[in-house]
């Protein structure tokens, strides 16, 4: 197979990883809202934990985006 074509296919495949990050973010914020609506007074104190979880989860999506971008623009 042509190497450029393989790189483009690989970039597309790498983007599938973002689905995992999306599911993770959904669970993260959904569960936070779930807990926050049950006990709104405790929610404000957990915002730092929420953002930490957001950054850790979002980083995984960025990893797959990075692989896609590297395949598209660097390794061609």
């Amino acid at each position: 197979m042509d190497a450029t074509a393989a790189a483009y296919i690989g970039a597309g495949l790498a983007c599938m990883g973002m689905g995992g990050a999306g599911a993770g973010l959904g669970v993260l914020f959904g569960q936070f809202l779930h807990g926050a609506l049950r006990n709104p007074s405790a929610a404000a104190g957990q915002r730092a934990t929420l953002l930490l979880g957001f950054a850790l989860t979002e980083a995984l999506g960025i990893f797959s985006l990075l692989i896609a971008l590297l395949l598209l623009f660097v390794l061609k």
């Binding site: 850790l56 979002e58 990893f63 971008l69 660097v74």
Partner: protein
């Protein structure tokens, strides 16, 4: 026709010519070194001006105290009061990463933390410090960190193996997380900026060129959030890893 070239913003170019050579590789004063010098200069100047110390803090002093209190609280929560001896180190790392992330957003500047060599050096230094301080403080007893308590004997070798591997992948995940966030975010911004130019010169398509521009503005806002958050994550994970050196008991 414009071409998308999102990676060239991370090119390291020498500002001076090669000053001398180490093993055949030229050593020059680069744009990366320049940005780092600017960052350190800014931080030192800010701290010197802000901490001249008056009983009634001014605006600058309040800002410096805010950073100090925030980092101190983070370190105390994750590594305990003993961890406060590492506070100067964590504070330095936090401020340096924060400044390089935020300065990198300015168009035309250079993102120091978008270079894997910088983040890997930081993470490698942190993990070596954890290992050396752990052995210095607890001697060989520090190795208990890798032995989970209350585990049946037949399972123990496997769990120790997993713990050791997970310990040594920490610097990789720590450095790649920061590097990939910066690289990915900035490349995405540059690609959307390329859409604006491509549409603008694309005849009738110029009508919809403001939309990617709006998206770029939104992306800059997201990047600002990511820049601050990743600096915070880097600092809090540093404090958590140092906690392992101080308290190896699970």
């Amino acid at each position: 026709m414009v071409h998308a070239d999102p990676i060239s913003q991370f090119d390291i170019v020498g500002i001076s010519g090669p000053l001398f050579r180490v093993g055949g590789a030229p050593v020059a004063f680069t744009n990366s070194a320049l940005l780092m010098a600017i960052i350190v200069g800014l931080i030192v100047a800010f701290m010197l001006v802000a901490t001249r110390g008056s009983m009634v803090p001014g605006r600058l002093q309040s800002a410096a105290e805010l950073f100090y209190e925030f980092t101190a609280q983070t370190v105390r929560e994750s590594a305990g009061n003993e961890g406060m001896r590492f506070f100067p180190f964590v504070f330095t790392v936090f401020i340096f990463v924060l400044c390089s992330n935020v300065l990198g957003i300015i168009p035309g500047s250079f993102t120091v933390t978008g270079q894997i060599v910088i983040t890997a050096a930081l993470a490698g230094f942190i993990i070596l410090m954890v290992v050396f301080y752990g052995f210095y403080k607890h001697g060989l007893g520090w190795l208990r960190l890798f032995v989970p308590p209350d585990v049946p004997g037949w399972l123990l070798p496997m769990l120790v193996f997993v713990e050791v591997v997970s310990f040594w992948t920490r610097p990789i995940s720590l450095s790649v997380r920061l590097f990939a966030n910066m690289l990915g975010g900035h490349m995405a911004m540059s690609i959307f900026a390329y859409f604006v130019a491509a549409l603008l010169f694309g005849g009738v398509w110029a009508v919809i060129s403001p939309f990617p521009l709006l998206l770029v503005v939104a992306l800059v806002a997201l990047e600002l959030l990511v820049a601050v958050l990743q600096a915070y994550v880097f600092a809090i994970l540093t404090a958590l890893y140092l906690n392992d050196a101080l308290h190896p008991h699970h």
